[in-house]
C-alpha cells in the first residue's frame, strides 16, 4: 500500500453521500417538528399520541448524525468506494428524462385517457432506455394499453379514464 493518494480518486467524501446525510437530517427535523405539532391535550391515555413520534424523531436524528459523521469525519471507506463506482456508472440524462416522462404520463392519464397516454408512454420510455425498435414498441404499447383497459373496465369492474376516446368507448 502506498502512502500517496491515487490521483484518479477525488479526495474527501462523494458529494452525493454528503447530500444524503443532510437529507436524512432534514427528514429528522421534519419529524421533530411534526412531533411537536401533535396536540397533547387530546383525551386521557397513559401513553399519548406524541410518544412514539418522539422516539422515531430521536432515532432519525441520532442515526442521521452518525451517518453524517461516517461520511465526513470518520469516513466509511467501503461506502465511499461503492458511491464512487455508482457515480462513475450513472448516466444522469436517462434518469432525469425518465423521471420527467413519468410525471408527464401521470398528468396525461386523466385528460388524454388511459389508452392514448399508455400507448405513447411505452414506446417513449423504451426509447429513453435505449430501445431502437420503434415499430415493435409502438405496437406493444398500443396492445398493452388496450388489453389493460378492457381487462380492468370489463372484467374487474374498475374505472380507468377514457379521456379523448370517451365518445368511442
Amino acid at each position: 500500500m502506498s502512502v500517496d493518494r491515487d490521483p484518479g480518486t477525488p479526495p474527501g467524501s462523494p458529494l452525493g453521500l454528503r447530500i444524503a446525510g443532510f437529507a436524512l437530517l432534514g427528514l429528522a427535523a421534519v419529524a421533530t417538528y411534526g412531533t411537536f405539532q401533535v396536540s397533547r391535550a387530546a383525551g386521557y391515555s397513559v401513553v399519548g399520541p406524541a410518544v412514539i413520534p418522539l422516539v422515531v424523531s430521536v432515532m432519525l436524528s441520532g442515526l442521521g448524525l452518525v451517518f453524517v459523521v461516517r461520511t465526513t469525519a470518520v469516513p466509511d471507506r467501503d461506502l465511499f468506494e461503492h458511491a464512487r463506482a455508482e457515480e462513475a456508472a450513472t448516466h444522469w440524462p436517462s434518469v432525469l428524462l425518465l423521471g420527467a416522462l413519468l410525471v408527464a404520463y401521470a398528468f396525461a392519464l386523466g385528460p388524454l385517457g388511459y389508452i392514448p397516454a399508455t400507448a405513447l408512454f411505452l414506446p417513449t420510455g423504451a426509447r429513453l432506455l435505449g430501445s431502437r425498435h420503434l415499430v415493435r414498441d409502438v405496437v406493444l404499447g398500443l396492445g398493452l394499453a388496450l388489453v389493460i383497459y378492457f381487462a380492468f373496465t370489463a372484467v374487474l369492474g374498475l374505472r380507468l379514464p377514457a379521456g379523448v376516446l370517451d365518445p368511442f368507448l
Binding site: G64, A89, A106
Partner: protein, 514 residues
Amino acid sequence: MEVFGDLLNGFATALRPEYLLFAAIGVTLGTLVGVLPGIGPALTVALLLPLTYNDFLDATGAFIMFAGIYYGGMYGGSTTSILLNTPGEAASVVTTIEGFKMAKKGRGGAALATAAIGSFVAGTMSTIAITFVAPAVAQLARVFQPADYFALMVLAFVSVTALVGRSLLRGLLSLSIGLFIGLIGIDLISGQARMTFGVTELRDGLDIVVVAVGLFAVGEALYVASRLRHDDEEIVPVRGKIWMTAEEWARSWKAWIRGALIGFPMGALPAGGADIPTFISYNVEKRLSKHPEDFGHGAIEGVAGPEAANNAAFSGVLVPLLTLGLPTSATAAILLVAFQIYNLRPGPQLFTTSGDLVWALIASLYIGNVMLLALNLPLIRVWIKILSIPRAVLYTGILVFATLGVYSIANSLVDVLIMYVIGVVGFFMRRYDFPVGPVVLGVILGPLMEAQFRRAVQISQGDLSIFVSRPLTLAIFLIAALMLAGPYIPALIARLRGERPSRGRVVVGEGKED
C-alpha cells in the same frame, strides 16, 4: 388426529376448480416475476392488493394466489441466478456462486434441475412441518401479552436490520424512515392527525401499495435507467437435457434435506426471512462436501442446499405470520396488509376464527409445490426465453403496471405523484446501498408495534418496568440484543486474542428484497 381432519377439509376447499385456478395463476405469476430480474414477489403482491379492495377476489382465493406468487418467486429466482449470474431475488444470491459456474461449464441443465427438485423436496417437507408446527405455536401464543408482542416486533426489526445487509447503520436508517412513514395519518387511539402538516390527502396515511410500489418498481426502474449504458448482461445458453446424472443425484439429495432442515426453523424464527438460511446452507455444504475443491468452480451441492433452504424458509416465515401476526420479510409484511384488508387478524385466534381459510391456504401450498415442479422442469425452456425480453421494454412495462396499480386504488393523481417521489427516494437508497425491505416492514409493523406498546403500558398503568419484569418479554429482548451484537462477536474475539480482525462485522445477507 385433529390436524388431519382440518387438513383434509383444507384440501376439499383448495381443490375446488376456482381455487385451483387462483393457485395456478399465482405460481405462474410468481415464477414469472422470480425469473425477471429486478422485480419480485413483494412488488407483485403489492401491485395486486388493489384487486382485494373490491369484491372480485374472496379472501381464500386471494391468499392462495398470493402464497403461490411468493412460492413461485422462490422457484423462479434460481433460473436468473444460474443463467444470468444476476439473482432474481435476495434469497437466490448464493445460488449464483456455484450455479453460474455450472452453467458456464455446460451443466446449467443439471443446476436448474437440482434447484427445481430441491425446491420441491424442501417445499413439501416444510409444508408438512407447517401443518404440525403452526397449530402448536398458535396454542403456545395464547399466553402472549401485549408486552411480549411488542418485544417480538422489536426482535423482528432487529433481525431484518442487524443480520441482513452490509451496514447496521443504513439498515436502521431505512427502518426509521419506514417508521416515520407509518406514523403519517390519524392516530387510531387518540384520533389526532400526526405528521400530516395540514395536508388533507395525508390524513388517511400513505397506502402501503403507494410506498411499496414506489420503492420497489419506480426506484428499481430509475436505478436500471441510470446504469443501462454501463452494465452488460450475458445469458448462458443451456445445452443438453434439464436433468441430472446419477452422481449429481447422489450429491444433491442430502444437500436438499439439510437445506430444508436449516431453512424451515430459521424462517420460522422471527429472524429475517429467507436469505440468511441460504448463506448458512452454502457454508454447511462447503464444509461437509466430499469435493470441497469443486466449490467456487460449480459444485452442485452449492446450488442444491441453498435452493432447498430458501423454499423451506418461505414456509417457515408463514409460521410467525399466521400464528403471531408477525411478518419477518417485506413480502410477509404485505401479506399481513392483505389479511387486514379482509378484516382478518393473524394471530393465535386465526386458526379458530378462520380455520377454513388457513387450512385451505396450507393445503394449497402442497398443491402449489406440485404445480411449480411441473412449471419448472418440463417448461423451464419457456422461462429461459423470458430472460431475453429487452431490458428497455421490460422496465417501461414495469412502470406501466406500477402506475396502473397505484392509480387504480382511487384514480388519484396525487397518489401516483407521491409514489414517484417515493420512487426517487428508492433510487437513491439503491445507489447508496440502503436496504429497502426495512422501510416496508417499518411502515406496516410500526403502527402495530405502537398499538401493542400503548396497550402494554395501559395494562401496567404507566409502569414501564412491565417490559423487563415478565420473563418471556425479557427473554425476547435479550435475544434481540444478542442479534444486534452477534455479527460483531467474531471480530471482538479476534481482538481479544490479540489478532487483527479481517473485518469488523459478519455479513450474512445482502438484504436486497424486492
